[in-house]
């Protein structure tokens, strides 16, 4: 029997999620006249999911997690190594999250240009010439998309309170 590993933690998180969803099925309204209650199918799925997750948990404890593929393995150890390994991914998620949070104020056009520009700057090289190029790419790509969607496909994109570019 090996100790807890990445798979063990994943299985435990899944089991907690299953428990939460099971609890939530008790809050599904029962109409009383339906042939198959609204909670029956989700419960059946949750039973299957829980059973297989339990097998997954036992297997992870018995045989241990397989070693990660070489290119997937974080280079350094600890939280710093992990952060460095997933830096680009975290940058993208954070920027996309900020883009969504600021969407009501900045709108799709300004928010989109800033999102692409910030992504390019943080993911790519940061030489002055590159910065200019990134600015041009962000403006051209998002501006082009905005024009196509607004005037070509007649979609009303979020205008944003800042400039109300709808």
């Amino acid at each position: 029997m090996s100790g807890p590993n990445r798979d063990t933690v994943t299985a435990l998180v899944l089991l907690v999620a299953c428990g939460t969803f099971f609890w939530a099925t008790t809050r599904i309204r029962d109409l009383g006249f339906e042939t198959l209650g609204s909670a029956v199918w989700p419960r059946a799925v949750l039973v299957v999911l829980t059973l297989f997750t339990l097998v997954y948990l036992v297997r992870s404890l018995v045989s241990g997690a397989p070693p990660p593929a070489l290119e997937e393995a974080p280079a350094g150890s600890g939280i710093r190594g992990w952060l460095s390994h997933y830096r680009n991914v975290l940058v993208c998620f954070t920027l996309f999250g900020v883009f969504l949070l600021t969407l009501p104020y900045l709108g799709m056009l300004i928010g989109g240009v800033l999102f692409v520009f910030a992504s390019l700057v943080l993911l790519g090289p940061r030489r002055p010439r590159r910065l200019l190029l990134h600015g041009i790419i962000a403006l051209a790509a998002v501006g082009g998309m905005w024009l196509i969607f607004t005037f070509g496909l007649k979609v009303i994109l979020p205008p944003g309170e800042l400039l109300r570019l709808g």
Binding site: R6, D7, T10, F21, A24, T25, I28, R29, L31, E34, T35, L36, G37, S38, A39, W41, P42, V45, L46, V48, L49, F52, T53, V55, Y56, R59, E71, E72, H85, R87, N88, V89, C92, F93, F96, F99, L100, L103, P104, M108, G112, F115, V116, S119, L120, L123, G124, P125, I137, A138, A141, V142, M145, W146, F149, L153, V155, I156, L157, P158
Partner: protein, 558 residues
């Protein structure tokens, strides 16, 4: 009737605007398929927002064009750089790249292009002739049978996840669970909303799919900081002319390989969950096993390019058949197409071809025509491909992420869909990193509702559970589901454990039972053939002591 439908579809597809869209679609697909790390499914996802405003025929024709282009585009990268453009062209690189490196890139490309074309055309013909027949069989299905079919689709998708069957099943069940969030389609009761108003409607299908698939894929592509800032592929300064005449000669020489691989591709496509990423490897393997010079495979033999390329293009005809005739998507790409059809209020089912003949035959014709357009555009796209591969992945990823946001917002004009995209992007990337296959989850999201709806219908008719095993089609699919669950174990132990010698005869014997139950003349005959084969094979293997081929040699070598 057939000719009338074809004639009407002809008018719809051969409209100048539709033709322009198809040419653009094939071109975009060729380029997208040629970019390593950029899958066909992602190309289809990106095309989707443009099709919302089109009528269904144009929208579907455009998407099918991207689809066909993408399948053929993968071979350019595979042959010229050794890096397959898409998972569908992995096997093409085994012989395509060595042939290109030995000084014949034009011939390798030509063989790839003409094999793709041949496979596509064989598949299109089968699609046009067999899809209506399959739909007629589908009309026999009751809710019990549909439920069992969905179960089979989910188990086979999970079992094709390779060594990660357990994770595949968990991912599939998670997908089905996601589909239950929101208003119950049958009773209209809200489920798992956790007090959040936006969740009462549930998650829209396409943002979930794009998040799980495209968003997570892009993040995987830029994860490596060094690779993200490098050019996508090193193509150098290729000046390649496709050797069409020599390539046609080679493809005609290996017409048997073309036909067998195309049929294998169509059959793989028919299976729910199995796509061209599986069929190209199967076809290559078959071509190698039946070749007179298997030892030459891997050094640049024409059959090594012919087999995977004719098979991967043919697979999609099979996938389209299952989607159109039964309403069950064969793979991720057809799942997206199903989503696109639903946006246009078109619901594929066994009655789809009869109810919407113009649309159905337009899909057939578009698939047919797109293969011809692909043939014409390949040479032009070869030049564009060299330019595209000079792009940096981080630039492509940033632009596409923004584009995903624009496209997803267009779907319902709701900002919540963007949050759905974001949440499922995180979930998809996390699952991928933890080794969970995403295809079972995506199919779970698509098929979950269909399963619940049919289960509910079955119970509305009768609460007798024996219907699931007494109805022949339901029993047939349940048996297939059971055997597909055991398939990964069979694959693992084949050539090593004796029990695997009984797997195929047992499966054939078991499947003969529902065939006998179906009645008529043809199906019991097939059942008899299956049973006789099973008995004959089992008898032979029993007399050989269930020995594994090669046992003697192994024993001798010891």
């Amino acid at each position: 009737m057939l000719l009338e439908n074809v004639q009407l579809a002809f008018g719809a597809v051969f409209d100048p605007y539709t033709l322009v869209l198809m040419v653009l679609g094939v071109g975009a697909g060729l380029l997208a398929g040629a970019i390593p790390g950029f899958t066909i499914a992602m190309a289809i996802v990106l095309t989707l927002p443009f099709t919302f405003g089109m009528d269904p025929v144009r929208g579907l024709a455009t998407m099918i064009s991207v689809f066909v282009g993408g399948l053929s585009g993968g071979l350019m990268a595979g042959i010229l750089t050794g890096i397959p453009g898409t998972p569908s062209s992995v096997a093409t690189t085994f012989d395509g790249f060595p042939m290109a490196r030995s000084g014949r890139p034009g011939l390798a490309l030509g063989i790839g292009v003409w094999s793709s074309f041949s496979g596509g055309i064989i598949s299109a013909i089968l699609l046009m002739t067999l899809a209506p027949r399959l739909a007629r069989i589908g009309l026999e299905f009751g809710p019990w049978d549909y439920f069992a079919l969905v179960l089979f689709a989910l188990t086979i998708t999970a079992s094709l996840a390779g060594n990660t069957l357990l994770k595949g099943v968990i991912a599939g069940a998670l997908g089905v669970l996601v589909a239950t969030i929101g208003e119950d389609e049958i009773n209209g009761v809200a489920r798992f909303d956790f007090g959040i108003d936006a969740l009462k409607q549930g998650f829209a299908f396409l943002p979930v799919l794009v998040g799980l698939f495209a968003f997570s894929q892009l993040l995987s592509d830029v994860r490596d900081r060094v690779k993200a800032t490098r050019a996508i592929a090193d193509t150098g300064d290729f000046v390649v002319r496709i050797e069409h005449r020599n390539a046609i000669r080679e493809v005609v020489t290996y017409w048997g390989v073309v036909l067998r691989s195309a049929l294998l591709g169509v059959f793989t496509g028919l299976l729910p969950g199995a796509g061209s990423s599986v069929s190209n490897i199967l076809a290559y393997d078959q071509a190698k096993k039946t070749s007179r010079r298997p030892e030459k495979f891997g050094s640049g033999v024409p059959e090594g390019i012919v087999a995977p390329e004719s098979s991967n293009n043919a697979t999609e005809g099979g996938s389209l058949m299952t989607m159109m005739a039964l309403g069950i998507p064969g793979d991720v790409v057809t799942a997206i197409m199903l989503g696109a059809l639903l946006i246009h209020d078109v619901v594929p089912s066994p009655s789809f071809i009869g109810d919407e003949p113009v649309l159905a035959y337009s899909i057939f014709l578009s698939f047919f025509l797109a293969n011809f357009i692909m043939l014409g555009l390949q040479a032009i796209c070869l030049r564009a491909f060299v330019l595209v591969t000079r792009l940096r992945m981080y630039i492509l990823a940033a632009i596409i992420l923004a584009y995903c946001a624009f496209g997803i917002f267009t779907l319902n004009n709701v900002v919540f869909d963007l949050w759905t995209l974001f949440i499922f992007g995180i979930l998809g990337f996390t699952m991928k990193t933890l080794g969970f296959p995403l295809a079972p989850m995506i199919l779970g999201v698509v098929l979950g509702d269909i399963a619940e709806l049919n289960l509910s219908r079955a119970f509305a008719i009768s609460s007798d559970l024996t219907h699931f095993v007494l109805r022949p089609w339901s029993l047939f699919f349940l048996l297939l589901a059971a055997f597909s669950t055991g398939f990964p174990l069979y694959q693992r132990d084949r050539q090593r454990r004796r029990w695997t010698r009984g797997y195929a005869p047992l499966m054939a014997a078991a499947l003969s039972l529902p065939m006998f139950m179906m009645g008529g003349a043809v199906r019991p005959t097939i059942g008899t053939a299956l049973l006789l084969w099973a008995m004959w094979t089992a008898w032979r293997r029993f007399h050989a002591g269930w020995a594994i081929p090669g046992d003697d040699r192994r024993a001798g070598s010891r």
